[in-house]
């Protein structure tokens, strides 16, 4: 396996630190628009299998050329979702397999943006399904923690724990705090704005996919491992688009445990128009307001040593158990920031995102996972993934509710 990791930001750098401990690949090139950032990630690995390269992820031709030049077999896309399509297309053109942790972006319905879906998350990628299958190439989409591990949990529950699945609700929450800042999100504010302010998508078997107003269906979910109750609201997320394609289910939602403070901050960002990515003219220059919001906040990837607490990703499944009786189970994965910092020098949220595609790559290298076309994680057997994740030192849990 000759791997190209596109993006040496928080998640890309953490993927390097995780992969360096494993033997499944022969060569790994880390590419970033900022070559120095790629070189820093490679130098932290201190392993001759790694090399750095400069790459503009918005240029599919450049992605293709780099893959061909380096004889890349697998591309792991670790840049923000604006660049999904050029990396996806560049990998295909070069004949490589492809993995990402977020899917192509949505566009709202032109007339009824809070009722009907327009272009859905991943639609652009699924439109290329036939090409990928015919070429015998795999695009394994949404294989971070959410989407990713959350989808694996859904498949595992459907295969093993339930006779009939009714609701699948992804629930994400944490008790992470960052010391020394009045406000410091632990994940990319750019992406958080994108997923929280877009109309959240919901799936229902009899209705198909539809969207609601942002922050709909608030719910207090009690997370395990002492994290406790957190206010969760619907947000737009890939699992809602992925799970019903492979699992027979009545309803799928994704609720993010933003907490009331963060919800109010996001509402205000929207109220002020600061969520916009359309450039505005300010004092003779043009800037994207959302980029300014991101620039004013500390880079979450650098906050690990000021952060403490745990983050929990998981899948809440209800339905009928194998015994035919009602069952409600939360399958989850908790990561403690103190552990990820000590073991990997990565903060918990980026580490938890990065470990999953590395596990998936190892399964692909071994042939335990294989496939062709545009697939979600729930299209592949879940148990080997969960077992290898545990071997990586990050076990998962089950709680009956």
């Amino acid at each position: 396996m000759r791997l190209l990791i596109v993006g040496a930001g928080g998640v890309g750098a953490a993927a390097v630190r995780i992969a360096v401990r494993r033997a499944f690949f022969d060569h790994c090139v880390v590419a970033d628009r900022d070559l120095a950032r790629a070189e820093a990630a490679v130098s932290s690995a201190d392993d001759p299998r790694f090399a750095a390269a400069a790459l503009d992820a918005s240029d599919a031709g450049a992605v293709e050329a780099l893959c061909r030049e380096l004889r890349i077999t697998h591309v792991l896309n670790a840049v923000d979702p604006r660049f999904v399509m050029p990396v996806f297309n560049g990998a295909f053109a070069a004949g490589a397999h492809y993995l990402d942790m977020a899917m192509s972006l949505s566009q709202p319905h032109p007339e009824r943006p809070y009722e009907k879906t327009g272009v859905k998350l991943g639609d652009e990628q699924f439109a290329a399904e036939d090409r990928w299958r015919a070429a015998g190439r795999l695009a394994l989409c949404g294989i971070g923690v959410e989407p990713g591990l959350s989808d694996v949990f859904a498949r595992y529950a459907a295969d093993t724990l339930f006779a009939e699945v009714h609701d699948v609700g992804i629930r994400d929450g944490s008790d992470l705090v960052v010391e020394g800042y009045e406000f410091a999100p632990s994940f990319s504010i750019w992406t958080t704005i994108e997923e929280c302010l877009n109309p959240p998508v919901v799936y229902e078997k009899n209705r198909g996919w539809y969207v609601t107003k942002p922050f709909s269906e608030p719910e207090t979910f009690t997370f395990p491992a002492g994290i406790g109750p957190v206010e969760c609201v619907n947000v737009e997320h890939e699992e809602v688009l992925l799970i019903p394609r492979w699992i027979d289910v009545r309803r799928v939602t994704f609720k993010y445990g933003l907490g009331n403070e963060f919800i109010e901050v996001l509402k205000t960002i929207h109220k002020l128009g600061m969520d916009s990515t359309k450039k505005v003219r300010v004092g003779g220059v043009d800037v994207s307001p959302r980029d300014v919001v991101a620039a004013c906040l500390p880079d979450p990837a650098t906050l690990g040593d000021r952060m403490h607490g745990r983050t929990c990703a998981g899948t809440y499944v209800t339905g009928l158990g194998r015994d035919g009786r009602p069952r409600a189970t939360y399958l989850y994965h908790v990561v403690d920031n103190a552990w990820t910092m000590r073991e990997y020098g990565s903060q918990a949220v980026v580490w938890q995102t990065a470990v999953n595609p590395v596990v998936a790559l190892e399964l692909l290298a071994a042939g335990t996972w294989s496939g062709a076309g545009v697939l979600g994680p729930e299209a592949l057997p879940p148990r080997p993934f969960l077992d290898l994740l545990t071997e990586y030192g990050a076990p998962w849990g089950i709680q009956e509710l």
Copy 2:
């Protein structure tokens, strides 16, 4: 009187529309960094007494040169408070009298920013008091609506209604709403951030001036004319610095009826660091985050035709009445947006700010008001001001509480 209005924004343009109906001045030059904006204000006046000029208000030398070239006798500063000192100094150097509606900016105390004052509002201007007095020139500072009319009310109450003044509390509130926008402040967000996020200053006779944390001493004040109850909090404002210099009083506060929604928005802007005026690097350019917030919101001066409701400025005075009995009186000025739009094509808040310096200029032209040095409005006889304001079509009121 040969007048220079510096700034053809909302307030400057409204001052032109008000002044054009009066005969007290011979010539009025409207100057702006953006010549086209100055020309638009002048062309709306359609009166040969008016002319437009280009001027950089941050350049005291340029202000002086323009005043000398045009033989200006009075400068009305209508740009934002960042430019108070260059316009003030430029007017002095040219031998002109000077009026403004906001005073030189404060700087926080370096060690105890929420307890002690550092550089106070107006300190830089009062430091020049001797020079102005010796030169026989008048700097009439803070002669908008607040500061301005609010100070005149305080002086009127002290002279006429009260034997002993205890507390003077400026209270500002409105029921203005802007249709078609989720959020659209009716006054400059740049200035609102400045006055609301700086530590609010309070005066007490036994303690002098001190500051608190932002949004302190919340109070629901019921405004007259049907506006009703509005949540008010302490903000930094000139009246607190001006009134105790001329009126014997125990305590002075300024509370702004922001309402809960606006308070939360301002807290969030601060939390995100978007109140900062220090430039940040974004995508290869440097911008001030506060300027980006302002650029994302509609220009309040252009919102008059989508706005409805009334705005109220006033001064709440407690103490002992002329009969020696406890008295609590609110002196106020209510302006209805429908009236200002119909009569002047200006929205209510900028009109209410702009009318007061025009009234003051007319009193100065007539010799009814005169003086030398750096003075606040409460240094001059209040009754002629209140009577002329009524003649301008904007009467004031008194409510016993």
